[in-house]
């Protein structure tokens, strides 16, 4: 387990800021202590400093997971955000999309969100903006990328995609193996 290099930190924060903007500092400086990011086996883990101390006792090959995994760095050094980060993205999300109950299941299976399934969308969403997807009951389902800006969404036909799927909670069952 090692701290992130500057390069890696930059890449990761860029990705995160797509979804939560400048609220990243809220992730690091929390009222209940300082939290930090660490890299282990190409995955980025978010943990409090107390757990960090504890985790240093565990040898590198025996350590499986610490705190929460946010995502991983691919071989080409791009950062991919995992669904496991949803709990931390959702409260600070700047742009949100609500899907209708009928389209909920489809999104949970990994499909993109179509205009017909779109319930609400935050005003002023830019195209290719990172969004967090909610159900109508305000339950976070996952996150994605807006395919069109809000104005364009109003004018689109029902069968076109409005949100590209990036991660959804259904992955806890579908991709259990790849979480570690």
């Amino acid at each position: 387990m090692r701290p992130l290099t500057d390069e890696e930190t930059k890449i990761m924060f860029e990705k995160l800021s797509k979804y939560i903007g400048e609220n990243i500092k809220l992730l690091v400086d929390r009222p209940d202590g300082t939290y930090c990011f660490r890299l282990h086996n190409d995955r980025v883990y978010y943990m409090s400093e107390k757990i960090l101390k504890l985790a240093t006792n565990v040898s590198r090959d025996k350590l499986v997971s610490v705190g929460t995994c946010f995502g991983k760095f691919t071989k080409t050094n791009k950062f991919r955000l995992h669904i496991t980060a949803l709990d931390f993205l959702a409260p600070y999300a700047k742009f949100k999309v609500w899907v209708k109950p009928g389209a909920e299941q489809s999104f949970l299976y990994g499909n993109h969100v179509l205009k017909s399934g779109l319930g609400r969308i935050t005003e002023n969403t830019m195209q290719y903006q990172g969004v967090v997807v909610y159900s109508m009951a305000d339950m976070p389902l996952g996150f994605g990328v807006a395919a069109k800006s809000t104005q364009e969404c109003r004018r689109m036909d029902p069968m076109s995609i409005v949100v590209f799927h990036q991660a959804d909670v259904g992955e806890f069952i579908r991709n259990e193996d790849t979480l570690t």
Partner: protein
């Protein structure tokens, strides 16, 4: 109603699909039943079974003739089939038939007593007279009727079959013929015979049981035999057969249970030892069906009320689990897969067996504590611990199996647990990796005899070696777990040991072992239901505090078989054997790295008292020797403590005692009493103090053990040897001290 009741009756129907539909019951029956169905004429409500028998008895001759006369192919085939069946039945002359015989006779008596009009009573579908009834009934109905008649004739003729010496089922026949004889006699005696008194359970003769093994027996027969056998055994003095020992009944019972429930003999024997006979069948039956599905609300994300409401809206039928749990829900049935609802994916609940709630409730972790879960996969208990701690403090979740750890990680992330470190060690390495936990939960790997309902393979795959292996592993894990707890923790010092097994070897025996080996004591689990653990079992005697542990059974608590014991560690000192020889050699200030070594040999350990740890200033080195009685080649020397500054007089004695293994063993053997005497001279308190302080010192430095241990070992090895002259000196000293 899918078939026409009267095929010969052609009804003209109109065109179209709806005309082809079978009309309702009333319209169909109205064609047959000429008398109206009214409440006044309510005799048609009485069951027609009785009527049939009487009819058949009366019309027996008629139907026989009819049977022989017909030349329809169907009937001939049926005839042959029936004949074969009847021959088989004849051979069996089963209890069933005997009973049927009795039943039918009893019923006939009842019928005689009634004053209904047989003539007016209408049979099924109202065919008024038997001749035409046979025509009107379908072939299969006719066949059934004839079977009934044949049975009766068989029953009446059963006496004639007594002499039938059919090899194959002789044993059963004898048994049942005896019963039939009894039955007949009793009927002669008393008309209103109680059916239960009639059947006397007879043990089969030895030869026949061998033959039994070759042929597959009727399961119903075996089941009946089991019931009767247990009945006899429960009232042995009154119901026993003369000359037959209890052991014979029990051995037959074991065989039958093995056959009926598909267990291997080993497991059945163990279960017979564990349960009284009345509960045994209940337990075995309970293992055949699944326990109800239960879920645990994740209070980090939702409340039980809200979750229940959301699930009910999805079409799930559920109820709170019981008074004892505030987060459990039991699922009766569901129109959606309960493991894939959006609420599940959002992490609002976890599928978990009810018995798995119990060890965490017993552990009751507090906020801000450091907790270890040694065998955590698939992560249900770990996440429950985290939710009780409200995501504060720290949890170390460990499992030896890397594959299963993936599910732990998945569950932890899904449920929103943030204070956990997941690692993949063998649990036995634990105090070395990390120690000083406030609470430890050990859900030890076991034989799984409590979860047979989930995994029926356990019924046949377990044997003595498996249980012993499990028990051995569990003992090692438990000792490691105890060593990982910090007794001086301000809020904790607790350890919960649990298994999903009901075997005493894996439960009470392991806990008892730990009580002897470490400074722990049992405390109440806080679970107010469940059976108390055994304090004695067969030839073993356990510590009386074992009754604070709890056992749960599928048949009595409707949850998987489980055992939970809560231990409190009251001292960090690791007790050593009683044949301890105090030694002072001050050159090494080592910590003992050999915690594990001291465990094996001596069964009894001098448990250090609950006195608060003495300050390290008085610590000494103590060398421990294998007691002479063990006589083993292995020699464990344990040198503990920080710098020794004890009285000089001990020193020479100490030196004498720092012998190598064999020599020490020799000495011990030669003069075991004197050696002990020498020890006894020194105040025992001091020795315990020494052990305490040394251990205390060791404990605080536990994290540095590895490094220091290495130093000490090599250093000590040099010191262990003693020259010949010194040996003689030692002898003289011992003799002097006598």
């Amino acid at each position: 109603m899918g078939r026409r009741l009267d095929p010969t009756n052609k009804v003209k129907r109109g065109p179209g699909k709806k005309a082809k539909k079978q009309q309702g019951a009333e319209t169909e029956l109205a064609k047959f039943i000429t008398d109206g169905f009214t409440d006044e004429n309510s005799k048609w409500l009485k069951p027609s079974k009785r009527k049939r028998k009487i009819d058949e008895a009366e019309s027996e001759d008629d139907s026989d003739e009819h049977w022989e006369e017909t030349e329809e192919e169907e009937e001939e085939e049926e005839e042959q089939q029936q004949q074969q069946q009847k021959q088989k039945q004849k051979k069996k002359a089963g209890k069933d038939q005997g009973k049927n015989n009795e039943k039918s006779e009893v019923k006939m008596e009842e019928v005689d007593d009634d004053d209904d009009d047989d003539e007016e009573m209408v049979d099924d579908y109202g065919a008024p007279d038997d001749g035409s009834a046979d025509d009107a009934l379908l072939p299969i109905e006719r066949a059934a009727k004839k079977e009934q008649k044949m049975k009766e004739t068989m029953g009446l003729e059963s006496d004639d079959d007594d002499d039938d010496d059919d090899d194959e089922e002789e044993e059963e026949e004898e048994e049942k013929d005896d019963e039939d004889e009894d039955a007949d006699m009793d009927e002669d005696d008393a008309v209103q015979a109680n059916i239960e008194e009639i059947d006397k359970f007879k043990l089969p003769v030895a030869d026949e049981t061998e033959r039994e093994g070759i042929l597959p027996l009727d399961l119903k027969t075996i089941h009946q035999r089991i019931k009767d056998n247990i009945d006899v055994l429960c009232n042995f003095s009154t119901k026993r057969e003369e000359g037959k020992e209890r052991a014979e009944y029990i051995s037959l019972l074991k065989r039958d249970l093995c056959t009926y429930y598909s267990y291997n003999t080993f497991l059945i024997e163990k279960l017979i030892d564990l349960f009284p006979l009345s509960e045994l069948v209940d337990f075995l039956e309970a293992n055949e069906i699944h326990r109800p599905v239960t879920i645990r609300t994740n209070t980090l994300k939702t409340r039980r009320r809200d979750l229940a409401q959301a699930l009910i809206n999805r079409g799930v039928n559920l109820d709170p689990l019981g008074k004892w749990s505030k987060v459990g829900l039991v699922i009766y049935d569901s129109s959606v897969p309960i493991g894939a609802t959006p609420e599940y994916l959002a992490g609002q609940y976890m599928l978990q067996g009810a018995s798995s709630f119990l060890p965490v409730m017993a552990l009751s972790p507090q906020e801000g504590e450091l907790v270890l879960d040694m065998s955590c996969a698939p992560g249900g208990k770990t996440s429950y611990i985290a939710q009780l701690m409200r995501n504060t403090g720290m949890i170390v979740a460990n499992d030896a199996n890397a594959e299963r750890l993936k599910s732990v990680v998945g569950n932890i992330h899904r449920l929103g647990v943030t204070n956990t470190v997941v690692c993949n060690y063998d649990g036995r390495q634990f105090p070395k990796v990390m120690g000083g936990f406030d609470r430890v939960l050990l859900d030890a790997p076991c034989s799984g005899t409590g979860v047979i309902a989930k995994d029926p393979a356990v019924k046949t795959s377990k044997d003595e070696a498996d249980i012993q292996r499990s028990a051995h592993l569990q003992k090692e894990l438990l000792l490691s777990a105890i060593d990982s707890v910090n007794a001086e923790s301000p809020s904790g010092g607790y350890l919960v040991y649990c298994t999903c097994s009901i075997m005493v070897e894996e439960n009470e025996w392991v806990v008892d072992y730990a009580l002897k080996k470490r400074n722990v004591k049992l405390v109440p689990t806080g679970l107010d239901f469940g059976k108390e653990g055994f304090t004695r079992f067969k030839e073993r005697r356990f510590h009386p505090s074992l009754k604070l542990s709890r056992r749960f059974y599928p048949h009595s608590h409707n949850m998987d078989g489980f055992f939970v014991a809560k231990l409190k560690k009251f001292s960090n000192v690791i007790p050593t054997t009683p044949f301890m020889i105090v030694n002072v050699s001050c050159h090494t200030n080592c910590f003992s790295a050999n915690i594990d070594e001291e465990d094996s040999e001596a069964p009894e350990a001098t448990a250090a008292t609950q006195s608060p740890p003495v300050k390290p200033s008085k610590s000494d080195k103590i060398s421990k020797t294998v007691p002479g009685k063990a006589g083993s080649a292995k020699e464990k020397a344990q040198h503990n403590g920080t710098a020794a500054k004890e009285k000089a007089k001990i020193k020479p004695k100490g030196k004498k005692n720092s012998t190598t293994g064999p020599k020490q063993a020799k000495i011990a053997k030669m003069d075991p009493e004197t050696v002990k005497g020498a020890e006894a001279k020194k105040p025992t308190v001091k020795t315990t103090e020494e052990t305490e302080t040394s251990k205390a010192g060791k404990k605080t430095g536990s994290r540095f053990e590895k490094k220091q241990g290495k130093k000490t070992k090599s250093h000590l090895k040099g010191k262990k040897r003693m020259g010949k002259n010194k040996f003689k000196k030692l002898k003289k000293m011992l003799q002097k001290s006598e």
